[in-house]
Symmetry: C2
Subunit: 404 residues, 2 copies
């Protein structure tokens, strides 16, 4: 008898009808002889409703109190699902983060999981109960309610699966799997039956919204097999496979896009190491995540530094850079806060030298300019203007035969 | 520096505007040099919204899961109030029942408080924080969420006040104090400046809705001074006074009414002690609260037994009684599920023999029949038909000079 962890997101539990459908889904899994732990998000719309209440009181509500407020959303969905299962004759028990000992640090609004005490969950499973856990939330050492930030419920599910040594962690969502690219942009986009963990991590951190990168990272670190499935229609979804073997002949597996990117270029850095120390310290203190970093030497006298970040952080970062100009640590800067980062992802990229050549061919054929490019073992990322994005997705999808 | 516990009910925190008004109220109390612990109910309407969701899934939802669901309501109101105070420059911290160690038994939906660990609250108060606690909820020995049932937030507030040895427990509500009778029925009804604890307890258990009898009982047991105040207008409300001295010349302090009463009469009891054992065991097992009990010997051969209960329990109780008839423990029964219990309450009743006489005079003058009467030291209760209720309230209010 294996333990299966099933995570259901906000739209999957967005109404009483949906909650009843989730109950049926769990019963199906149980009837196949598995023990089930369900991890839920709040009913869709609920988190926004609560956020709206908070923001009416205070534009910058207390982070601790915001977590206390938001965590109430999952408490509603888990108890309702338990009722739906009990009504159907299945014993079920809903549990909050503090009840399963899901301990986090005390960084409110984006807490990190420290450990989970699986005792209570195992006891409940042994008694034949379906265990229904509130995702997204945690509990710090002082017993304060914390939340895990964006994608938090996925991370909860993976961490819980790991702590229970589950057979598989299934992420039920509103799409039926991981696609070669966004099917709303490229109708020929194909569902992938399996993706390697490495690829999924690169996809998640490159804008593929189906899974949050933190949860994939967590799954990787704990070797927890993942599966992405639709909670609206049946199917085997996409398995996130830990096998290194590339199962297709295509070097590229998928194309991911991260909208809302911004880029800042710093010209004429007079004292390179001091500037970088000051810059990245200030960015870190302002809680700004830097994505790509590149340094280019235009002439021999000074260096230029380029980095990318989320558009929402652009103004804050620009202010920091202007401060450095006033301190004479650099001459001037320029930036663009309307860019898209596109990424080609595939385990085959590392062993296939043709990928870059084909990418540049495609850019040339379509007369598209790129602003920054960087590559890792299994990924090539680059920035383009938003208006060329959709065209380029289609062109690259065809070029790399992702529809086949 | 004294600790004041202030409890705000659902209508007092029913909107963001109301929550901001409560924040101002707390700030006023703090500015008078007090440490404040606020105990809140859920925003009005929220508990009903959640109950409605539960009942759509299951007409008889799991009691454990219902408590989990309902407890989310207070989590919302406490965190929003904390935000409102923090926005105004006051430090505040919201705490759930499990965070203040409010331990109850595991009787879901109507749990009883076992003890409270005041450590966290005292620490927060010493740091200058306003402490905002979720009322109505508790936590059993296994860490399950429980709720205290009707009037639960009042009970939470009193228990918290007792555990902190507060100076006073203030119950803010939508009325400005305790009245001689319901002002919607008798326009001459007068607000009482103070009421003795005994009187308040009798009033609460006789239908006066302003305080729940359990909270008054708890306050009495812990000698915790109470005050009932309006959260909508200023005023000193009604103090619940532990002084035994009757402060008025009137033997009667107030008239309370409990609608929705039912009465069952059991005729021809063949084996008195066996019947009573069976009857009260069955009623207790069905969770039916019996109010008044009387036994009358009509002739010398058999006894009749009369008891009253809430109208909602009438059908269940009638079934139990019919079972006893089938077991030949009694001949027959009759009942009435449309009655009102009225009570005259006053510390002066015990020392004033005229009260019963005046009551019967009044009944006679108004040609009103009563069905059952019982009296204690400071209370005379009796059942009447609903249609004579309002008339009798007015007549008794005048007869006992409660408007003076």
């Amino acid at each position: 008898m294996a333990i299966i962890v099933q995570k259901f997101g906000g739209t999957s539990v967005g109404s009483l009808e949906r909650i009843e459908a989730v109950a049926e889904q769990i019963i199906q899994t149980k009837s196949r002889g598995h023990q089930v732990v369900a991890v839920l998000s709040a009913m869709s719309g609920e988190t926004n409703r609560l956020l709206d209440l908070a923001h009416q009181l205070d534009a910058n509500p207390s982070p601790r109190e915001l977590d206390m407020l938001l965590a109430s959303g999952e408490q509603v969905s888990i108890s309702l699902l338990a009722m739906a299962l009990i009504k159907r004759g299945y014993s079920a028990v809903s549990l909050l983060a503090n009840q399963i000992g899901l301990r986090t640090n005390n960084r409110f609004n984006k807490a990190r999981i420290k450990y989970i005490d699986n005792t209570r969950m195992l006891t409940e499973l042994q008694q034949g109960h379906v265990v229904i856990v509130a995702g997204f939330q945690g509990c710090d050492d002082e017993g304060n309610v914390t939340t895990l930030g964006r994608g938090g419920s996925d991370t909860s599910a993976v961490a819980i699966a790991a702590s229970l040594q589950a057979k598989e962690c299934q992420i039920f969502t509103d799409v039926d799997g991981v696609y070669t690219t966004d099917p709303r942009i490229e109708a020929q986009a194909k569902k992938l039956d399996q993706v390697s963990f490495e690829e999924m991590l690169e996809m998640a951190s490159s804008g593929a919204k189906v899974l949050h990168s933190r949860s994939v990272e967590f799954a990787g670190a704990h070797k927890m097999p993942l599966r992405v499935l639709s909670s609206f229609k049946s199917g085997s979804g996409t398995k996130i496979n830990f096998n290194e073997a590339n199962l297709t002949n295509n070097p590229v597996t998928a194309i991911a896009s991260q909208k809302d990117e911004a880029m800042l270029t710093l010209f004429g850095i007079s004292n390179d190491s001091l500037l970088k120390k000051e810059l990245f310290l200030a960015l870190a203190e302002a809680d700004i995540e830097v994505d790509m970093i590149q340094q280019a030497s235009i002439n021999h006298k000074s260096n230029d530094l380029i980095f990318t970040l989320h558009r929402n952080d652009y103004l804050k970062a620009d202010e920091i850079v202007n401060g450095l100009i006033r301190s004479n640590l650099l001459d001037k800067s320029c930036g663009d806060d309307k860019l898209v980062k596109m990424s080609l992802i595939g385990s085959g990229i590392r062993s296939n030298t043709k990928v870059s050549r084909q990418l540049f061919e495609c850019l040339h054929e379509n007369n598209i300019e790129l602003f920054l490019i960087s590559s890792s073992e299994i990924k090539i990322s680059f920035l383009v203007k938003p208006q060329v994005h959709d065209l380029l997705v289609k062109a690259l999808h065809q070029k790399f035969k992702l529809d086949q």
